[in-house]
C-alpha cells in the first residue's frame, strides 16, 4: 500500500513526535508513505473569503503532484488536512477559482479536483481497515480508558470534510477499540479547544480547554488523544493555567498509542489513580 505524503511545517518542527510515531507505525503496518518532494506550507487556515486565490496554490501543487504519481495524498496534521481537503473541494466546484488557479500555475495537465486527500485516520479506516489493524496489534491496550478529542478541523464543515458524523463521530473511538483500549465518551469531544486564541486571548482558550479536560476526566478517562498539533499544545499547556494549576490528564497523539499497541515502544504514561 503506497501513498504520497504531505507533512506540513509543524510536523517538521514542534510536532516531530506526531510525525515520527505516525511514520514508524505506518512502516510496521506495511504502508509506504512517500514524502512529496516540493511541498510548501498549506497556510494553516483555509481562507473563508472568496477572493484569496494565492492561498490555494500550495495545496493544489501537492494535490496535482499526487495525481501525477497516481496516488492518494495522505496528511497527518488536522490543519493541513482541513486546508487541502477544502481547497480540493473548492477547485472541483468553483469554476472561477479553477480557472484562476490553473491560469496561474500553468501545470502540464490542469488540475480540476480529480485527486484525493485522506487523513491518516481515514487511511487506517478505509484503506487498511480497522479489522485488519486489530489483527496486527501486538500489545493490546486492554483496560486503558482513553478519551478521543476531535476538535474542529477534521469534522467541520461536515459536508466538505466528509470525515465522519460531525455531531457524533466515532472514527477515533473505533480506532481505540481496534487497539484494544476502552473509549470514553464525553460531551465535549467535538468542542473547539480555542485554537490560536491561546496566543492573544489566553484566558478564553484556557476556559475552553478546562471544560474539555474536566469533562473527559469526570467521565473516567485516564488520558486524552488528539490528531492536531495546536489542539495538542492547548490541551497540554493550558491545563497548567487552569485554577488548579496542574494537568488533570496526560495528552497523546493518536499515533503514539498506535505505536505502543503495535509493540514499537514502551507504555505511554497514564494517571495511576485511574487504573
Amino acid at each position: 500500500m503506497r501513498f504520497s505524503y504531505y507533512p506540513g511545517c509543524t510536523l517538521k518542527t514542534t510536532a516531530t513526535e506526531l510525525e515520527r510515531s505516525a511514520l514508524k507505525a505506518a512502516k510496521a503496518l506495511g504502508i509506504e508513505l512517500v514524502e512529496q518532494k516540493e511541498w510548501q506550507c498549506c497556510g494553516a487556515v483555509f481562507p473563508l473569503v472568496r477572493d484569496e486565490i494565492a492561498a490555494f496554490l500550495s495545496s493544489i501543487r501537492s494535490l496535482a503532484a499526487a495525481r501525477d504519481a497516481g496516488e492518494k495524498l495522505v496528511t497527518i496534521c488536522a490543519a493541513c488536512h482541513h486546508v487541502i481537503k477544502r481547497t480540493n473541494h473548492l477547485i472541483k466546484t468553483d469554476t472561477e477559482v479553477r480557472e484562476k488557479v490553473n491560469g496561474y500555475l500553468q501545470l502540464e495537465t490542469s488540475y480540476l479536483g480529480e485527486g484525493s486527500v485522506i487523513h491518516y485516520l481515514e487511511m487506517l479506516r478505509d484503506e487498511l481497515g480497522f479489522d485488519e489493524l486489530a489483527q496486527k496489534i501486538k500489545q493490546p491496550l486492554t483496560g486503558r480508558k482513553i478519551a478521543a478529542y476531535y476538535g474542529c478541523l477534521l469534522l467541520r464543515p461536515a459536508a466538505i470534510m466528509a470525515f465522519d458524523n460531525a455531531e457524533n463521530p466515532r472514527i477515533i473511538e473505533d480506532f481505540l477499540f481496534a487497539l484494544g483500549a476502552t473509549a470514553v465518551y464525553y460531551p465535549y469531544r467535538t468542542e473547539c479547544c480555542g485554537v490560536y486564541l491561546s496566543l492573544n486571548n489566553t484566558q478564553i482558550a484556557t476556559d475552553m480547554v478546562e471544560k474539555i479536560v474536566s469533562s473527559a476526566f469526570s467521565y473516567g478517562a485516564e488520558a486524552l488523544v488528539d490528531a492536531c498539533p495546536l489542539c495538542h499544545y492547548n490541551l497540554l499547556e493550558l491545563q497548567k493555567k487552569t485554577p488548579q494549576g496542574k494537568p488533570l490528564l496526560p495528552v497523546y497523539y493518536f499515533t503514539e498509542l498506535l505505536e505502543e499497541a503495535l509493540g514499537l515502544k514502551e507504555q505511554t504514561a497514564v494517571r495511576k489513580d485511574r487504573k
Binding site: 468542542e191 485554537v195 492573544n200 495546536l230 499544545y233
Partner: protein, 134 residues
C-alpha cells in the same frame, strides 16, 4: 465626486455579501448559531446579533465589536444553522475588510516571542497572523 456615508455603507455591505458568499437576509434569528458558539460568553455582540445588525445595515456596531476578533472559526455555528447561513464566513469577511484597510492589525510580532519559546506550534502562530494581521 462625493460619496455619502450612506453610499459607503451600502458598498461595504455589498462587499461583505460578495466576499463571504452569504446572504444575511436568509437568517430568521433563531439563535442556534449563538447557542452553538463556544466563545459567545466573551463576545460583546452575539453571533446572531451580528447577523441582525447586518440585516439592518448597522455596520458600525458590528465593525467595532470584539466579537469578530474572538470568533475562533470553529464552524460549529454554520453546521447548526437551519437557514444555511454560514456565520463563520461572515465573521471572516468582517475581519478581512478591517485588516485590508492599512494599519488595522490585531497582532504584533512582539506578541508571539514568548509563546514561541513555550512551544506554541508553527501552525498556531501562522494561523493567528493569517487571521489577525496583514
Amino acid at each position: 465626486m462625493k460619496v455619502s456615508t450612506e453610499q459607503l455603507r451600502s458598498y461595504i455591505l455589498k462587499d461583505i455579501a460578495v466576499i463571504s458568499g452569504e446572504n444575511v437576509v436568509e437568517c430568521y434569528q433563531c439563535g442556534k448559531c449563538t447557542a452553538a458558539c463556544p466563545v459567545s460568553k466573551a463576545m460583546d455582540i452575539l453571533p446572531h446579533q451580528v447577523v441582525r445588525f447586518l440585516q439592518l445595515g448597522m455596520l458600525d456596531e458590528v465593525m467595532e465589536s470584539n466579537t469578530i476578533w474572538i470568533c475562533a472559526s470553529c464552524f460549529t455555528c454554520a453546521g447548526r444553522c437551519p437557514r444555511d447561513v454560514d456565520v463563520a464566513n461572515i465573521m471572516e469577511a468582517l475581519r478581512v475588510i478591517l485588516l485590508r484597510k492599512r494599519g488595522v492589525s490585531r497582532l504584533k510580532t512582539e506578541d508571539v516571542r514568548l509563546v514561541f519559546s513555550e512551544g506554541m506550534p508553527e501552525q498556531g502562530v501562522v494561523s493567528a497572523f493569517r487571521k489577525f494581521a496583514r
